[in-house]
């Protein structure tokens, strides 16, 4: 998977993009968030409050139960503030 981070999620993690092989046992967005939280450090900080995180898979908004595959582009970011 390509995993993208934007705004303060990116700042806390320290990178905007990384390639991650779908981890064993992770089947959906919620599972990936838990897996990232367990990495600790900036990841634990960025995902400390999952209610403040929005998720897009292949550039469309999705819910935490959205399934994941290795070909997906997954993006994590805060609520948007453009306009």
């Amino acid at each position: 998977m390509t995993v993208l981070y934007f705004a303060w999620v990116r700042s806390r993690i320290g990178t905007g993009s990384e390639a991650i092989a779908l981890p064993d046992g992770v089947r959906d967005v919620a599972g990936l968030i838990e897996w990232l939280q367990r990495r600790g450090g900036g990841y634990a900080d960025a995902f400390a409050d999952p209610t403040q995180i929005r998720v897009a898979v292949n550039q469309e908004y999705v819910d935490p139960d959205h399934p994941l595959s290795d070909a997906d582009e997954v993006a994590f970011f805060p609520p948007v503030t453009g306009g």
């Binding site: 705004a7 303060w8 609520p79 948007v80 503030t81 453009g82 306009g83």
Partner: protein, 153 residues
């Protein structure tokens, strides 16, 4: 039409082009968002708009398509800038041309309300003292966007 760009735009030229030569247009409504020198937390020296290339265009196109489903529109335009902007700079333009005044006005209001809660842009504000922080989303914007959900068929 959707444009996501670093550069400024010529407001008059964009609006004139939207109705140009189309004599079915009776009303042209527009909204321009500008960078203010004050925010909730104090003075703002500048801001930087980050966005998600690809998803931004896709979301804006979906928002625009939804406006065309809801109202009889002759033409629509959304321009959103990214990068570093200073107070007084234009950030965003939404414009709607329609045969009918109420359709143009309502669709313009809808576009900017939906855009503010759906288009993947994030503002990072710089204070005059050199500090800076990410702008937090406002509940009032969520309520404004949700009001259009209640108006859905």
């Amino acid at each position: 039409m959707i444009r996501v760009q670093r550069e400024d735009f010529d407001l008059g030229a964009e609006l004139d082009a939207l109705a140009d030569g189309n004599h079915r247009v009776g009303g042209l409504a527009s909204f321009v968002g500008l960078v203010r020198d004050m925010a909730g937390d104090g003075p703002v020296a500048a801001m930087t708009l980050e966005h998600y290339p690809g998803m931004t265009e896709r979301q804006l196109a979906e928002i625009e398509a939804e406006a065309h489903r809801r109202w009889p529109l002759e033409a629509t335009l959304i321009i959103h800038r990214f990068g570093r902007l200073e107070p007084g700079d234009r950030v965003v333009l939404v414009a709607c041309a329609s045969a009918h005044r109420q359709a143009a006005l309502a669709a313009c209001h809808f576009l900017i309300d939906w855009l503010k809660t759906r288009a993947p842009f994030w503002k990072h504000e710089e204070a005059p003292d050199g500090g800076g922080d990410w702008v937090r989303a406002r509940e009032i914007d969520d309520r404004a966007a949700a009001a259009w959900d209640r108006n859905e068929g």
